[in-house]
């Protein structure tokens, strides 16, 4: 037959049917659909048909088996292993025979068989198209494992090997590897029957190993023992150790961070309390001489005095909201006790009554003419005493800040916040120590001071995280009034400022 003609003949037929297509009758799809509906009602889980899961299950089972074997230690052999070990001791006297090249050849063939057993694992992953033809392949071969063990058991002196064949094929090998099992049992069959000194079986063995040497009976005994050795579980200490590097991307603190992050999302609000020792200076200035000082010809001296900061404090409450990782906004209510003093260059004294009056007292009396600050203003014949005298000048404010904060290292133990904003200072009262030692109190209702004073505020806050909820804070702040504290700036001006360091705690929720 001319090959070119053959190719031509088959190619022509192949080509003729390559695109052949005929619409199937409608009933075909209806039949398929009906069967699909029927199968869907059976509710066969899809995973049941997924080979991967079976492979995974087989892998887990194999790992468990290996794990159990390792756990028991290399010294604990199975019953079959013990029998094999017994056989081993019996044939130690035959070690000389193992040096025989024919036996070595046999040993090699056993190793070859073992390799054959390993290969079908990959073959089982072939697509269904190959499974179908595989079935026909397996079907005839699959008969072997069923029959050979019996045969092996009946073979003289082959009991041990028969047991091995059973354990080797039926238990160890997965069902899909029946071809390999068949081959293994075939090898066992040949080897064990070799013990019965049948030369024809030896010939079969030789055929399998691509060698045709004549094997003596003693050699076959040895071969059977070698097979037993080959199938003996090797102690794990004797196994080659292959180290596999695994790079697992695992961050140890990741688990700790997850709930914290979740908690942080919830903790957008915080509240805090604090106490701020501060240095408060009302910065009061007498811009023009009070009338009494003017009478006393001390106009120029009346404006020389100055305010000194005193030890003050503020009790603060805060409430804030975290807008983003770094940004926050906060407000609160504070009570500020602003203590200070005023050092006047001199004071007035009325000789008749010995009443005295300092410059602030006099200026406030001018502003608040309806209410005598210290009874009646000094008489026009009062004398100016050119003697410096410092007297107390205290303020009380209710403060409502509105600040924005930018926090650095918000997730760290220590974090820093830059603060900036406005402060609404609601005037409560002012106490001035008069020259005579009395305290003159000016209230908001007296209409001397502005009831609301705006101040700019800025600061730096150090946060220390005590727990996920609690933080200790240390805030340095500076407040500067933007407007004068007095309603009428003709004679008096006040631009208070404050330095303070606040200690506090904050609770996030």
């Amino acid at each position: 037959m001319d090959p070119s003609e053959t190719n031509s003949f088959e190619e022509q037929w192949k080509k003729a049917f390559q695109e052949a297509s005929e619409t199937p009758p409608l009933s075909a799809w209806e039949g398929i659909e009906a069967r699909l509906d029927k199968e869907e009602r059976k509710v066969v889980p899809l995973w049941w048909q997924t080979p991967r899961l079976w492979y995974a299950a087989a892998s887990v089972a194999a790992l468990l088996m290996v794990g159990v074997a390792l756990w028991n230690g290399s010294g604990d052999l199975t019953d079959a292993g013990k029998q094999i070990a017994a056989n081993k001791t019996q044939i130690e006297g035959q070690q000389a025979d193992r040096n025989n090249p024919e036996v070595q050849q046999t040993e090699k063939s056993i190793q070859d068989k073992e390799e054959v057993i390993k290969t079908p694992d990959n073959a089982s992953e072939t697509v269904i198209a190959k499974v179908e033809p595989g079935r026909s392949k397996i079907a005839p071969a699959g008969k072997l494992p069923q029959t050979t063990p019996e045969h092996l058991a009946s073979a003289p002196g082959g009991k041990e090997s028969g047991k091995l064949a059973k354990t080797g094929s039926a238990e160890v090998l997965p069902e899909g590897n029946s071809i390999a099992a068949a081959r293994l049992t075939e090898a066992n069959k040949v080897l064990s029957s070799g013990e019965s000194n049948k030369n024809e079986d030896i010939a079969v063995l030789s055929k399998n190993t691509n060698a045709a040497p004549e094997v003596s009976a003693s050699a076959m005994d040895a071969a059977s023992q070698i097979l037993a050795e080959a199938l003996t579980p090797i102690g794990y200490k004797d196994l080659d150790v292959y180290v596999q590097k695994r790079y697992v991307f695992f961050r140890p603190d990741a688990l700790n961070n997850i709930p914290e992050k979740a908690a942080k999302k919830k903790r957008e609000y915080y509240a805090g309390v604090g106490v701020m020792p501060a240095s408060f200076n009302p910065n009061v200035k007498v811009t023009s001489a009070p009338s009494a000082f003017a009478y006393a010809n001390a106009s120029s001296r009346s404006t020389v005095g100055e305010s000194h900061a005193g030890t003050s404090y503020a009790v603060q409450t805060q409430g804030g909201k975290r807008l983003s990782k770094h940004w926050s906004v906060e407000t609160g209510v504070s009570y500020l006790q602003g203590n200070s003093s005023y050092e006047g260059d001199g004071y007035l004294i009325e000789p008749a009554t010995s009443r005295s009056q300092n410059v602030l007292e006099s200026a406030l009396a001018d502003k608040n003419s309806n209410q005598g600050l210290s009874g009646a203003p000094p008489a026009s014949n009062a004398l100016y005493i050119d003697l410096k005298k410092e007297f107390r000048n205290d303020y009380r404010y209710l403060q409502v800040p509105l600040q924005a904060g930018f926090t650095l290292n918000p997730d760290k133990k220590f974090s820093y916040s830059l603060l900036g904003g406005m402060m609404a200072n609601f005037f409560m009262n002012n106490e001035i120590e008069s020259a005579s030692g009395n305290v003159i109190t000016t209230k908001a209702s007296d209409d001397v001071y502005r009831s609301l004073n705006w101040a700019a505020t800025t600061g730096l806050r150090l946060n220390y995280r005590l727990s996920p909820q609690w933080r200790a804070t240390l805030t340095g702040s500076y407040q500067q009034s933007l407007t004068s504290g007095f309603k009428n700036n003709e004679t008096l001006e006040a631009h208070p400022y404050l330095y303070g360091v606040s200690w506090g705690v904050r609770y996030s929720f």
């Binding site: 297509s21 199937p24 699909l36 697509v127 269904i128 033809p133």
Partner: protein
């Protein structure tokens, strides 16, 4: 909605009925033609087609994209057809046939002049063993040893059955006369 091949596979894996129907619509015609080649009548071909599609839908999760989908589908249909023939005991006894090896020579074939339906008719007229082996060897492209394994016969049987099929087909083709208008009719 029209799926591409990859989407069709995924849809069928998810047992989406629309995808299943579309797979049938796209490939049903070609696969039915294969069924017709392996069977003697349309009823059997329809049965094979139904069995094949059920098998396809059930096993499509095992399909890997390393081979063309159509090749995979054709393989399933062929195997289903062979199973069908086995069940019907058509392939129970296939014997060696002697005397056909020398009868292959003849005039050069030009199948291009024939419609595939005519050629299909010739194939269907073959004895079932010859029909099957001819399909597997000439059209599907399997080797004789593969066919022997598939059908559980000897390689020699496969070869002799094929030779017989070839001779019979050639005889049928030789009966045809080509007319001037290019058409091919019976003598």
């Amino acid at each position: 909605m029209t799926f591409n091949e990859h989407e069709l596979v995924i849809g069928c894996q998810q047992r989406n009925r629309v995808a299943q129907k579309q797979l049938y619509d796209v490939f049903g015609g070609k696969l039915f033609a294969i069924c017709l080649r392996y069977t003697k009548n349309r009823t059997d071909a329809e049965d094979v087609l139904q069995d094949a599609f059920i098998k396809i839908y059930e096993n499509i999760s095992t399909f890997r994209n390393d081979s063309p989908l159509e090749y995979w589908l054709r393989s399933i249909v062929v195997n289903t057809a062979l199973n069908h023939l086995r069940q019907q005991k058509y392939l129970k006894q296939l014997d060696d046939i002697d005397g056909y090896e020398n009868g292959l020579s003849g005039k050069e074939l030009i199948l291009a002049d024939f419609q595939w339906q005519q050629l299909l008719g010739f194939i269907k007229e073959l004895p079932i063993g010859c029909q099957t082996i001819f399909n597997l060897y000439a059209i599907e492209g399997y080797q004789h040893n593969e066919i022997a394994q598939k059908l559980g016969i000897s390689e020699g049987t496969s070869k002799s059955q094929y030779s017989r099929a070839r001779v019979l087909l050639q005889e049928k083709l030789n009966k045809e006369t080509r007319f001037d208008d290019g058409s091919v009719r019976n003598k």
